[in-house]
Amino acid sequence: MGTERQFDGAGRDLSLLRTIVDGLSGVKAQLTDQLITVPRILDAQNARLGRPLSEHDLADLTQDTLLVLLKKIDSLAAGSSLEGWIYRVCCFELMNGIRRKRKQPMLVGDATQDLVPPAETEPALPDWEYEDLHQGLEKIDANEAAVIRLKYFDDLTFDQIAERLDVSQGTAKTRFYRGMLKLQALLSHRFPEVARGRPSS
């Protein structure tokens, strides 16, 4: 058995998923209504990246992603958007799946063998432009990240954000600005001029 994760056919984790889904109740049960969007998000995002994964790969990845979501549901912060959280998990898992697939050795007798170019000419990994943005948001203070996400990803006004998070507008704006500064520092590779131009205090 190799150490690499294999895309080895649908149905592998289905019984485990059923057990988890059947056991969900209360607030967590709300997640099950959103699970149908998981394969759709994976497919839509895969299409945007030039379809590096086959439909069969995506079916396997769907199961992996469902497991991640169901295991991490407790980490969903109050006030956060369930849809947005599912989207992020799907995108991260898709990128992980693409990277895992690229690392897989070619199987002997693989029907696609003649079609795959040699390793040295293999195209670069598709880039999800906003991956480091979402990773950065995972690293900064959760309250500050929540405001940034609600503003840019859920398109809420500060009035709505304050209401959602049960804080004053001033608090929401302060969290927003502090979060932006921290995000900017984490993403200095994308914004080199900022890193150079930051005032010393």
Binding site: Q30, P39, Y87, Y177
Partner: protein, 219 residues
């Protein structure tokens, strides 16, 4: 002491939050006094635009994901979500109903009652949490019933589908009663065998309970 930082940061915060724009005299004054201010603002705005683009992408993908895409993964999730529903209690309930029918026939010593609804309600409708009707063989799809306590602001919706091909046939208007009576001309057009689901939504529109059964009309 030359300490422009608090004003500078406060202005940047207000501009980023949309409370001020570059034409504001305070912003223009800061730009004149502080040569690095404009560059800093430009970079923050650049990051803000990038975040807006990231948000737009997310909303576009989620919008695409609101429409079925007919993929293998989607079929897999549908199977996952459908199965517990289809596994529902109706085999057990049917057995219970059959036992009551037999007892009823024995007591009456006559012909079987063609309208099974009162019998089934006697079994399923009296105090059993989540009891559903119609269930199994019925004379008509005249009334749908279930048992669930709605939270304040919540509502129910019934979805009727063909049991043969899962084609959706009818959706009830949202309501707060734990029953629904479809119009006679509507239900008359339904096939012999249906599958129906009732969803309970909370005040925010999130499904908090769902159950369903399969039923068919007596020949």
């Amino acid at each position: 002491m030359d300490d422009p930082l608090p004003d500078r940061e406060q202005l940047l915060r207000e501009i980023l939050a949309g409370d001020l724009d570059r034409r504001d005299p305070r912003v223009r004054g800061q730009m004149e006094r502080d040569p690095g201010f404009e560059e800093r603002l430009a970079e923050l705005e650049r990051m803000s635009r990038w975040l807006e683009e990231g948000g737009a992408e997310q909303r576009a993908v989620l919008h695409e994901a609101s429409v079925p895409r007919g993929t293998e993964g989607e079929a897999l999730v549908q199977e996952l979500l459908e199965r517990p529903r289809r596994r529902s209690r109706w085999p057990l309930a049917l057995a219970a109903a059959a036992a009551v029918v037999l007892g009823f026939l024995w007591a009456r010593g006559g012909e079987p009652e063609l309208e099974p609804r009162p019998l089934e309600l006697a079994v399923l409708g009296d105090g059993e949490p989540g009891a559903l009707f119609p269930l199994g063989e019925v004379a008509a799809y005249s009334r749908f019933e279930w048992d669930f306590d709605l939270p304040d602001g919540g509502w129910f919706q019934v979805i009727v589908s063909s049991a043969e091909d899962d084609r959706e046939l009818q959706r009830s208007r949202p309501g707060v009663q734990s029953s629904w009576e479809p119009e006679a001309d509507v239900r008359g057009a339904w096939p012999e065998r249906i599958r129906w689901t009732v969803n309970a939504y909370d005040a925010t529109g999130v499904v908090i309970w769902s159950d369903g059964e399969e039923a068919w009309r007596s020949p």
